[in-house]
Amino acid sequence: MDVEKLRAILAALQGTDVTRLDWTNGQERITLRMGHPPAPVTALHAVPAGAPGSSAALPTPPQVTPVVAAASPAARDNTFTVNSPFVGTFYRAASPDNPSFVEVGQVVKKGQVLCIVEAMKLMNEIEAEQPGRLLEALIQNGSPVEYGEPLFRFEPV
């Protein structure tokens, strides 16, 4: 199919209620999906914990690149996951004596600390990249996590 034809079809569909078009003509097959893109992917970034007053001898934490946490394929509609930006050990609290950073049912703000992933002896705080209500904590405290492994499931608020 040539571009002009495609443009014409797209123009004809503008402003209509059509959300999907399947077009077959001999060997040619086109599927158009109109309207909103799929739920936005969630990015998060990890901020090395300052941990003031404690373990002053810690070396300068490495620069942590934000990781795009794609919505898990198993995600129910409208929910999103926060995924681990690297391989390490997952902690829900700053120390064994502290309460968890977040509890199920809680609404978190953008930038709020959700957990710690320890890698190379550095405690990296993982922050929420967008607000949401925590539906599920997917990993047990103290467990190893992989790169990209879903840690929490949220629903938007």
């Binding site: 690297f86 050990t89 190379m120 190893p144 990209g148 492994e149």
Partner: protein, 453 residues
């Protein structure tokens, strides 16, 4: 001995390491990128950890992620395989500082051999012969004439700032020397902004012959014979064999002896490979040393009957070599063919989904691979899909077996270099064993492949 080895690599070599570790009763941890999550090396390891996205620098070259994976999995040693971080001295040091076993030579060995100039100096001191030439830049024409006569014609003039075949001139006779030198120097000045030249012996038909070194932590060193790797295209090896058709017992003994002596002098440890350039007269010269397990190690395993990966792990754990040179005997003949996902004519990479796959079998045929039906050859990594190794009593029998095995090899969905190998195995210079590093060039120039091959 180690209890759990983390494998900082992927694909066939990761699987190869898993096999060796399992036979030694050692657990394995595979690390992988998101793209390799379903790879066989991940499935066959005892544990696995995803360490990053597909690009190598964010996964298989990501040192913090790999060390972190070692920590969370409780591994007590790291095997780097080949490529990736295997010859990264800083990584080796970090592994050791983290209190983990490093399955390879000491970082200082890796660092020394990683610097070509330092490696040549060290090996000259350790007694390995070097290609005769000027040790540095040629000062003037008079010095050049003196050096060229000492080196012996033909000589090659190389631009100090050149590389990749540029800025080179071959001089066959003394009376051409002055003129060629002035031209080459002027060209180099124009091309690289530096007219400095050096000179060395030019070898018309060089062969690449390498010696496998096996050393323990206690000063014991033996060699496991040689591998002939002259079948190359643009410095990429395509086929390797052992023993080399260019070596007789005397030359093998001499190459092996000087190699072992040099390794004892520098107190080399673990596995390594010394690459030599062998000329038409049977003179050999040190080129470089690889401080890791090599892709082509299976041909040595086939003719010695010794598992080199198990040997490497055992020695890294501090065990004694427990072998004498006399106990190492080469039996039969082995040939390895690298099966790559590439166009057999243009050699362009051909990644994609393998829709049908059948690996050859039968007596004396070994295939090291993670390929299978529905396996996707990924564009992010090396194009090598498999290594096919055949072993037989003699070289002619091994060639016949390789041809037979290739007839059974089915890979559909992607292009492979199997048609190239079929041509090569029928190419007279190869069959006669009289070939060198430029033979592939001549084969490709000679005849177009038959249609449909």
């Amino acid at each position: 001995m180690f209890h759990k080895i983390l494998i900082a690599n992927r694909a066939e070599i990761a699987l190869r390491i898993i096999r060796a570790a399992r036979e030694l009763g050692i657990e394995t941890v595979a690390v992988h990128s998101t793209a390799d999550a379903n790879s066989l090396h991940v499935k066959f390891a005892d544990e696995s950890l995803c360490i990053g996205p597909p690009p190598s620098k964010e996964s298989y070259l990501n040192i913090p992620a790999i060390l972190s994976a070692a920590e969370v999995s409780g591994a007590d040693a790291i095997h780097p395989g080949y490529g990736f971080l295997s010859e990264n001295a800083e990584f080796a040091e970090m592994v050791q500082h983290a209190g983990l076993g490093w399955i390879g030579p000491r970082p200082e060995m890796i660092r020394m051999m990683g610097n070509k100039v330092r490696a040549k100096e060290a090996m000259r001191e350790a007694g390995l012969p070097q290609l005769p030439g000027s040790d540095g830049v040629v000062r003037d024409e008079r010095e050049l004439v003196r050096l060229a006569e000492k080196v012996g014609f033909p000589v090659i003039l190389k631009a100090a700032s050149g590389g990749g075949g540029r800025g080179m001139k071959i001089v066959r006779e003394k009376d051409q020397l002055g003129q060629m030198y002035r031209t080459a120097s002027a060209e180099a000045l124009a091309a690289f902004g530096n007219g400095d030249m050096y000179v060395e012996r030019y070898v018309e038909r060089p062969r690449h012959v390498e010696i496998q070194i096996v050393a323990d932590e206690h000063g014991n060193v033996v060699h496991f014979g040689e591998r002939e790797c002259s079948v190359q295209r643009r410095h990429q090896k395509m086929l390797e064999e052992s023993p080399s058709p260019a070596l007789n017992e005397k030359l093998r003994e001499r190459m092996g002896r000087v190699a072992v002596e040099a390794m004892k002098k520098i107190r080399y440890n673990n596995l390594g490979t010394i690459e030599f350039l062998l000329d038409e007269r049977g003179e050999f010269f040190f080129m470089e040393m690889n401080t890791r397990i090599q892709v082509e190690h299976p041909v040595t395993e086939s003719v010695t009957g010794i598992d080199l990966l198990k040997e490497q792990i055992r020695l890294a754990a501090g065990e004694e070599l427990g072998r004498t040179q006399k106990s190492i005997a080469l039996r039969g003949h082995a040939i390895e063919l690298r099966i790559n996902a590439e166009d057999p004519v243009t050699f362009a990479p051909s990644p994609g989904l393998i829709t049908a796959y059948h690996a050859p079998g039968g007596l004396g045929v070994r295939v090291d691979s993670i390929a299978h039906e529905q396996y996707r050859v990924l564009p992010f990594y090396d194009s090598m899909v498999a290594k096919m190794i055949v072993t037989a009593d003699s070289r002619p029998a091994a060639i016949m077996r390789a041809r037979r095995a290739l007839q059974e090899y089915v890979v559909e969905g992607i292009k492979t270099n199997i048609p190239f190998h079929k041509r090569l195995l029928l190419f007279e210079p190869f069959v006669q064993g009289r070939y060198d590093t430029r033979t592939v060039e001549r084969l490709l120039a000679e005849a177009p492949p038959p249609a449909g091959a």
